[in-house]
Every structure is written in C-alpha cells, then in structure tokens.
C-alpha cells in the first residue's frame, strides 16, 4: 500500500519533470524568455523520485548486487547473509533520517535562489526516503523471521534457475 503509493508518486514525479524541462525548452526557444525555476524544480523532483523509487526497490529486493557467494552457500547461510545485508541497509536508512534531519536543521535559514524557499527542502527527500527505506527493511526482517519467502527475488537470478521473465518490457523494470 505505502509502496504502491510511493511508486505512483515517483511515476507522477517523472511525468511532471518531463513537462517542466519541455516547458523550459519551449520558453527559451519559442518565447525567448527562460523561467528560472524549472531547472532547480526538476532537480528537486528528481531527488524525490529517486529516493521513493529506491525505497520501493529495497522492498522488492531488486537493487543491483554482487551475489556470487549467495549461490554457493546453503539456504541457511543465505538467510544469515541476507539478514546482515538488511541490517546494513537499515543502518543506512536510519542514518538518512537522523543526518538528513541535521541537514534540514542546518539549512533551515538559508533561502534557495530562484525557488525562494528554504534550503531545507533540498534535504527533505533524504529524510522521506530514509523513513521508507527503514520501514521496508524492517518489514523484510520481520517477514523473514516469520518464515516468509522474502528472498525469492534472489533465487530468480541464480545461475541454475530459469528466469521467469518473458518480455523485454518486464526486464527494464526489474534489472539494471
């Protein structure tokens, strides 16, 4: 639910970003009058959609990794390694929240040029992304402890297993 909302919000962000850059080209080339907010605006949207999308990627377990050791190890060993990985990701997610808030505090009184808003807006995506990354990682840890097959995505990519992905269209969404 949260994950779907995050993904759709990020998708909407990408569409709006497309519109903003197109508007920038249109204004400069056709109207000969450039808006100064489109560039910083598009960049800020991009950092939101990256963090939202990356958090969803954590939940769906499709971040790029080097998982050769995971193939060699027996199932129990894999579980331990995945658990360590999740704790590492959780540490980073919590760091994003804690230090993201420090950055928000540090830049609260600075005003961003062109947008005219507080510099803290630059770092809010870090905090927001951190919250989602932490939530989704805790979810994975809890589900794994409860015995749910949260590491299935991993098995898909193993050398002997058949990859159950049919059209190229599904691929761009899940790998690389």
């Amino acid at each position: 639910m949260i994950s779907t909302t995050a993904l759709w919000t990020a998708g909407a962000g990408l569409v709006v970003m497309t519109g903003m850059v197109a508007y920038q080209v249109y204004c400069r080339y056709v109207l000969n009058d450039s808006p100064s907010w489109t560039e910083p605006g598009a960049v800020m949207l991009m950092s939101w959609f990256i963090f939202l999308g990356a958090a969803v990627g954590v939940r769906e377990n499709n971040h790029l990794g080097f998982d050769i050791l995971l193939y060699i190890l027996p199932r129990g060993g894999k579980r331990v390694l995945r658990m360590i990985s999740d704790l590492v990701i959780l540490t980073f997610g919590l760091g994003m929240i804690y230090y993201g808030l420090q950055l928000v505090q540090l830049t609260w009184n600075a005003i961003l040029p062109s947008l005219g808003i507080s510099g803290a807006f630059d770092y809010m995506p870090v905090v927001g992304g951190g919250i989602l990354v932490s939530l989704f990682t805790i979810e994975r840890i809890v589900l794994r402890l409860a015995g749910a097959p949260v590491d299935e995505g991993l098995e898909l990519a193993s050398p002997e297993a058949e990859v159950e992905l049919d059209a190229a269209s599904d691929i761009t969404g899940t790998k690389g």
């Binding site: 990020a10 998708g11 990408l14 970003m17 497309t18 850059v21 197109a22 920038q24 080209v25 080339y29 598009a42 960049v43 800020m44 991009m46 950092s47 959609f49 990256i50 939202l52 999308g53 990356a54 969803v56 990627g57 769906e60 499709n62 971040h63 790029l64 990794g65 080097f66 998982d67 050769i68 050791l69 995971l70 390694l81 360590i84 990985s85 590492v88 990701i89 540490t91 980073f92 760091g95 994003m96 230090y99 993201g100 420090q102 950055l103 770092y123 995506p125 870090v126 990519a157 050398p159 990859v163 992905l165 059209a167 190229a168 269209s169 691929i171 761009t172 969404g173 790998k175 690389g176």
Partner: protein, 426 residues
C-alpha cells in the same frame, strides 16, 4: 587505516551480497565515523551527487527507451533491420546488430537498448535454432553501440565530470565513427561464429519490402535527426534532448503508431522509475565514496604512482585502459565515470591526449565493463531476456570481447577515428 576501512567495508559488504548502492554508502558512513567527521557529510554528498541537472538525462533516456519498446518503435526498427541484413550469414545475428545500431542512434542508454532489441530478437533467434548464448552475446555486445552513437547520457556525464570544458556536441559527433566501427567488428565476428556453428540465413525480401519497412520505421528513426540536429542547431541542450526524446516517443507511439495504451504508459513510467532510482542511488552513494577518496587524497597518489611507472603516453594510455577495464568489471558505468574522470583525465591531458578523444576511449572501455560480471547491467538484462545464466553466456562471449577490445585498441591509438568528424563539423 581510513582507506582500509573504506575499501574493506565496501568489499566485505559486496561479497555478502549487499546491494552496491548500500555497500558504497555504508562504507563511506563507517569511514567518516571512524575519522570523527560529522557523518552528515555522507548524506549531503548522497543528495548533492544525484541533484545535478545533467543527470536528468538518465531517467529521460531510460524512460524514452521504455516507451519505444512498448509503443512499437523498437519492433518496427527491428523489422526494417531484418529486411536489410537478414540475408547475410547468421542472418538474425546480423539483424540484431543492425537493429542495435539504428536503435542506438535514438536511444541514450545501453540497458534500454539490450532490453529493447534483445526482447524482440532473442526469442526469434531461439525459435530459428540459434544458440541462446549466441543470441544473448550478440545482444549484449551490440547494445554498447548505443553508448557511442549520439545521444548518450554517459557522454553527458563525462563532460560534466570533466568540469564542463568539453563540448557535448563534439563528444556526440566523436562517437559516431567508433560506434559504427564497433558495429562492423561485431558483424564480422557474428559472421564467423555463425559460420562455424552452421547458422542459417534469411531470404532477402526484395527491395519493395525493404522500402515499405523503411517507410514504416521512418517516424521512429526521425528521432536521430531531431536529437542530433536539435543539439547541433542549439534548439536544446544535450540534457534537454533526453526530454525531447521522451516527448517524441510519446507523440509517435500515441498518434502515429497508435499503439500506446494507458496501461503500457503506466508500465513504462513505473518501470523507468524503478530502473533509474536504482542507477541514480548508486550515483549518489558513489558521490559520498568519491568525496572520501578525494578527502583522503587517493587521486593524487594514484597519479603519482602512474607517473612513476612510465612517461611514455602510449604506455600511460595502455595502463589507464587496463585500470578502467578492471574497475569497470566491479563497478557501474555512471558512478565510475564520475569517480574516474577527475582522476584520469588530467593525467591523460598532461600526456597530450585530447579530452574528447579520452572521453570516447573511456565510454567504450567502461561500456565493455557493462558486459562483465559481477557488475554488468547490460549482460544481466540480456541474460534475463534469454533466460540463461551469466556463466553460460560467458563461455562463448570471448570472440565478441575480442572484437570490442580490438576496436578499443584502435580508438585508443588512432585519435583521428574520434577527432576527425568533430573537426569537420567545426
């Protein structure tokens, strides 16, 4: 000690299978904490590293690629390529490469290209009795053509990493001959491999059919002219051209081909978000990692070490090619360009190498790294489409690596291959 913590944490986490983005981020986090620096700097670099206008080219080109696959542009280009070269030995392999070359001219991303052309070609090749490993290797290697032919978001990243003193328009132009050379080398390789394996050819459909298929593919192919012409004519910047590609792909697929349905649009959008979020998160955490390397003075030591080995520019270039190939094996292209350009470019320039030329060398070199495990996004996509393991593809990829390396060697030591065309446009 700091460096041991930085690299030690990174390698350990990578070995246990932690996603690369978090390996880079947590290794930086641990090192900064050990050094007693305020850890907020890691998260500042994470955010600043990805908050760069020029990086918008990545989501846009990947998005455009997704739309072209789902909206019928890619399939028409493949059909056209098939009519052109299908009658050569190993017909569908040649079609694959020709389609990659055509599609590479409108796509800015090798990953999108492998997914697009591979998704259409690999199933056909399988059905016609081609070895899947052959189909996968032809797909993954010819996807690299997209990196060299304009547009190319990696060239934009390179120019920005070099401090913006390099003309992106020149870089785009400089990649054309090397891109076509790679296409040629792969076609020759595909020919000989096909011959030794006894693969069939396709019948030539006749000039009328070629003309018809060309006409159908024209709306998609026009994007080559729009992007190259638009950037050269100063209508939009190279970064903005990626957004133009999205709009044009939408326009053609919705109004000309009328194939883009709402569901496909949503899928393409969400797919692009998923892919780019992953790539850009790595770029962000790589920015934190490279900030620490700069803070710890790694680039300066590396340059000193390289100068100590030799003063001969040919040896230096060879050395840099080896280093880049090694790094490219273990790291993703985007972050690596950002990390490596400020380190290697000044050295190369000190030995008289033109920055545009060096950019082309670096793009092809790191591109080959996209096809080497353990970190090889393009190869992973091609293997996933072909439903084979990376290890199986690796067994028969060597002739294709050979073709790539020969082209890399030629480009490295014959600067005119890169620099002649831009000088013509000046």
């Amino acid at each position: 000690m700091e460096l041991w913590i930085l690299f030690g944490t990174f390698v350990t986490l990578m070995l246990i299978g932690t996603p690369i983005a978090f390996c880079l981020g947590v290794a930086s986090f641990a090192t900064v904490a050990y050094m007693g620096l305020p850890p907020l700097v890691v998260f500042q670099r994470l955010n600043s590293g990805m908050s760069v206008f020029s990086l918008l080219a990545i989501p846009f080109f990947i998005y455009a690629g997704d739309l072209m696959v789902r909206g019928g542009i890619a399939s028409r280009i493949v059909a056209f390529a098939g009519s052109l070269v299908g009658h050569l030995r190993g017909g569908l392999g040649q079609v694959n490469i020709a389609a990659s070359t055509l599609f590479g001219g409108i796509s800015g991303s090798a990953v999108a290209e492998a997914a697009a052309v591979g998704g259409l070609m690999i199933p056909q090749m399988k059905a016609r009795g081609y070895g899947v490993d052959y189909a996968v290797n032809v797909t993954s290697m010819s996807a690299l053509i997209a990196l060299l032919l304009p547009p190319s978001h990696n060239m934009i990243i390179y120019s920005i990493s070099a401090g913006g003193k390099i003309s992106i328009a020149d870089l785009f132009t400089a990649g054309i001959i090397p891109g076509l050379m790679l296409a040629g080398a792969l076609m020759i390789t595909a020919y000989f491999v096909a011959k030794s394996r006894g693969y069939p050819t396709e019948p030539f459909p006749g000039f009328q059919a070629v003309a018809h298929l060309a006409a159908v593919a024209v709306p998609g192919l026009l994007l080559i002219a729009i992007i190259f012409g638009g950037v050269r004519a100063g209508i939009f910047t190279a970064t903005e051209s990626s957004c133009v590609a999205v709009l044009y792909a939408l326009l053609v697929t919705v109004f000309v081909y009328r194939q883009m349905k709402w569901e496909a649009f949503v899928d393409a959008t969400l797919g692009a978000v998923r892919t780019t979020a992953m790539v850009l998160l790595i770029i962000g955490t790589a920015a934190a990692f490279s900030w620490l390397m700069a803070f710890l003075r790694v680039p300066a030591s590396l340059v000193a070490a390289m100068n100590a080995v030799s003063e001969n520019p040919y040896v230096i270039l060879l050395l840099m090619n080896f280093l880049l190939l090694g790094l490219g094996t273990f790291m993703d292209m985007g972050p690596l360009i950002i990390i490596a350009t400020p380190i290697f470019l000044p050295v190369a320039q000190a030995y008289g190498v033109d920055p545009v030329h060096f950019g082309v060398i670096m793009i092809l070199n790191l591109g080959i790294g996209l096809n080497t495990p353990p970190v090889g996004a393009v190869q992973f996509v091609a293997c996933a489409v072909g439903k084979i393991s990376v290890w199986r593809a690796m067994r028969s990829i060597w002739p294709f690596y050979g073709a790539g390396l020969i082209v890399l060697g030629l480009i490295t030591y014959v600067p005119a291959l890169s620099l002649w065309l831009p000088s013509v446009f000046k």
